[in-house]
């Protein structure tokens, strides 16, 4: 035990002595948490809309006023030329164009089905489908209004009201969703990168040889090396949770102890990954690349930005070996929904299995003798 204490003491001294490390470990995560949480939203409001109203009738103006009244749209241009507006769309000034054809009102009066044209800038495909959805629902709303005026009896036969409830996040605040995810990201990066690079650094400088001739035991070395980063990552997690509460008003609905207990196990998996990377690399540059390679894939697949269920089967298969996915799901469940230990048992088991196997693999791979 004494030996471990000396290693840990040395590690902490080295970490805190590097003037640039402190802000990186303690300030950067905070900035990241705040900035990321504010940037990460898919919400769409104030779509920049252009209107071409060729009909200039009461009905067409009514429809246009519906768009004006909607919080989702911001009318920025009226024109009689589609080409002109399309040019503006190309410049990026317009996101959507609604074209009302000449005999729009006449068609309604004759009982025909009038057509309107909706042109959407679809470079961002998902935003485009959302914008189109908003447009269609406004048109549909207006449609219902016409029907009510014309055939009050008939319309009344079709009324499925759909009252809805958003549970756990009634305001649909995207930050609620992102904050736990980003916390996961933070502890993962701190754990995997710092630990992996730290050991490779000793290899690169040559001090590892000096350590290897000492009677230091493998487990002492590994514990001494990993524990400081385990502590730092746990500290960062606590710090992040406090910030989440103070700045974003997000607090843990479930058990705080459960969060920290599972985080403690999860970190073992991450540190094991870092250690493993360090055993198969010779330089910090290589270690960093390799850690990056895994991290980028794992993070993207983990469901940080996009739901894992929507991914293709092969990606979901890949996700079964992705530790971040489990922890991400666990954190969101417990923090946002207050899930109890039983509901997240699957995740806990997976994380534990992962931690055990990753750590054993890394310890087995780590050799003092070559």
């Amino acid at each position: 035990m004494r030996v471990i204490r000396y290693i840990i003491q040395k590690e902490f001294k080295q970490i805190f002595r590097n003037r640039m490390m402190l802000p990186i470990i303690f300030v950067m995560p905070v900035i990241q948490l705040i900035v990321l949480s504010y940037t990460a939203t898919f919400e769409i409001k104030e779509v920049r809309l252009g209107v071409v109203d060729m009909d200039q009738s009461y009905s067409s103006r009514e429809l246009v006023s519906k768009f004006q009244g909607s919080p989702f749209f911001k009318l920025v241009n009226f024109s009689f030329s589609i080409a002109e507006l399309e040019k503006e769309m190309q410049k990026g000034d317009l996101q959507q164009i609604v074209v009302i054809p000449q005999n729009f009102e006449a068609a309604i009066n004759k009982g025909e089905n009038p057509k309107i044209q909706i042109i959407t800038d679809a470079v961002n495909g998902s935003a485009a489908s959302l914008m189109t959805y908003y447009t269609s629902s406004i048109v549909m709303d207006y449609n219902r209004q016409i029907l009510m005026e014309k055939q009050p009896l008939l319309t009344a036969t079709t009324g499925i009201r759909t009252p809805y409830q958003f549970w756990y996040n009634p305001e649909l605040d995207y930050k609620n969703y992102m904050v736990p995810g980003i916390l996961v990201l933070l502890v993962t990066m701190i754990g995997a990168f710092l630990s992996g690079m730290n050991i490779v650094r000793e290899k690169e400088i040559g001090t590892i040889e000096q350590l290897n001739v000492t009677p230091i035991r493998k487990y002492e070395f590994i514990i001494g090396k990993l524990l400081p980063f385990w502590i730092i990552a746990m500290f960062d997690l606590a710090f992040g949770l406090i910030i989440a509460k103070l700045i974003f008003g997000i607090y843990i609905l479930g058990s705080v102890w459960l969060v920290f207990a599972v985080a403690a196990i999860y970190l073992l998996a991450v540190l094991g990954l870092g250690l493993f990377v360090s055993t198969i690399t010779e330089t910090q540059q290589q270690a960093m690349f390799l850690a990056w390679f895994f991290m980028v894939i794992f993070i993207m697949l983990s469901g940080l930005f996009t739901p894992t269920e929507s991914m293709p089967i092969w990606a979901q298969w890949l996700n079964t070996i992705n530790p971040i996915t489990y922890f991400m799901r666990f954190m969101r469940q417990v923090i946002l929904k207050g899930s109890s230990i039983m509901e997240v048992m699957d995740e806990i088991i997976s994380i534990t299995v992962y931690a055990t196997s990753m750590l054993s693999l890394a310890v087995w791979r780590y050799r003092k003798v070559n």
């Binding site: 950067m28 769409i44 679809a122 447009t135 029907l147 009201r161 109890s340």
Partner: protein
């Protein structure tokens, strides 16, 4: 000079692990973004609390299950179960049909269908609600049509620049931007920091090679690597994802070269302020990578961010480069249309280079 560049190349290429990653990351990322990460809804699990169990409720459930957006997970028996299934995490939406759903609809012409979504993921919750409502409206309309001829305004939708709403059109420019930044800025900064850390930088500095030659020698291999990566991703975009190329290929390549130069000079600047590989890496990671992903409009639309972040995004070269790629590739823009973002990147390149030179001189004194 030539020998020096050759040495740099050898050092990079000898290390096969780095090579695999250098070319593996872009391919893996493009594939991931292209295939795995859709912001669209796909097979979202929903549950049903059907207290009516009649014609219309069954038909609506069938329609939901048949759509590609939803998949029926299970039937619930009581309201208490709703919370339980949500806490389990798989089911994200519950439809509640009250008793007499069809009867009310057919006789009193008014009925209620409650939609409860797990909004801990607000984006998905919102999409689910939208799609569910759309399915129900559709069902309503089909009922309407069955009643006889009705006036229906038919919206004809046209998606410009990306007819099939592929998210990959959005992601490819983003991935190009990230990879070029990663390879160019991050690699250069770390490789120079490495020479500093190992003490070999001083050997180079006292040699008859001029500082500018050292820098060029350091930067050349990464310039080439980045450009090859650029072509690789572009190739994938054309062949695998069928991305169009409406603008001038040469213009796009020239813009890419400019952006790479900017990233390289940024990498040099980072290396002059960091004292070890570790700090260079962490600095690059936090100062380059995250802003490149977040403040460039790559994944999240900039317009909806708080205004301070919008201002911040204006100084992100990545934002301007993404605009350039999209405009040239998807909208067929020429230099006339993209001169503004181009000149911003050009200005930044000059700025970073002069700052590095200034820093470098101070160090030598």
């Amino acid at each position: 000079m030539k020998d020096f560049i050759i040495k740099e190349f050898k050092q990079i290429f000898r290390d096969y692990r780095s090579m695999i990653i250098l070319f593996g990351i872009p391919i893996a990322q493009v594939m991931l973004f292209g295939f795995a990460l859709t912001l669209d809804l796909n097979d979202a699990h929903f549950a049903v609390l059907d207290q009516a169990k009649d014609e219309h409720s069954r038909k609506i459930i069938e329609k939901m299950d048949a759509s590609s957006y939803f998949i029926l997970d299970r039937n619930l028996n009581s309201r208490e179960e709703i919370q339980k299934v949500f806490e389990g995490g798989v089911v994200r939406e519950v439809l509640v049909f009250k008793p007499g759903f069809s009867e009310n609809l057919d006789k009193t012409a008014s009925t209620e269908l409650q939609i409860i979504t797990d909004a801990s993921d607000p984006n998905t919750a919102n999409m689910m609600l939208n799609y569910t409502q759309a399915i129900i409206s559709n069902y309503e309309q089909s009922l309407l049509l069955a009643h006889g001829k009705q006036v229906l305004i038919i919206p004809e939708t046209q998606f410009k620049y990306n007819e099939n709403l592929k998210s990959v059109f959005m992601f490819v420019p983003g991935v190009i931007t990230i990879i070029l930044m990663l390879v160019s800025a991050m690699m250069t900064s770390i490789s120079i920091a490495r020479e500093k850390e190992m003490g070999t930088m001083e050997v180079l500095l006292v040699s008859p090679i001029k500082p500018i030659e050292i820098v060029i020698g350091k930067v050349m291999p990464y310039l080439l690597l980045s450009f090859v990566n650029f072509l690789l991703i572009l190739g994938l975009a054309f062949t695998v994802f069928k991305m169009p190329m409406d603008g001038n290929m040469l213009l796009l390549m020239a813009e890419a070269l400019l952006y790479i130069l900017m990233a390289l000079s940024l990498g040099i600047l980072i290396s002059t302020v960091s004292n070890s590989q570790q700090t260079a890496m962490l600095l690059s990671m936090f100062a380059l990578l995250l802003p490149t992903i977040l403040l460039s409009g790559f994944i999240f639309p900039i317009e909806n961010m708080p205004s301070i972040l919008i201002y911040l995004s204006h100084i992100m070269p990545s934002k301007w480069f993404i605009i350039i790629i999209k405009d040239v590739m998807l909208k067929g823009a020429g230099l006339k249309e993209v001169w503004f973002p181009t000149s911003i990147i050009l200005f930044q390149t000059v700025l970073f280079i002069s700052l590095s030179i200034k820093k470098f001189k101070i160090r030598l004194q």
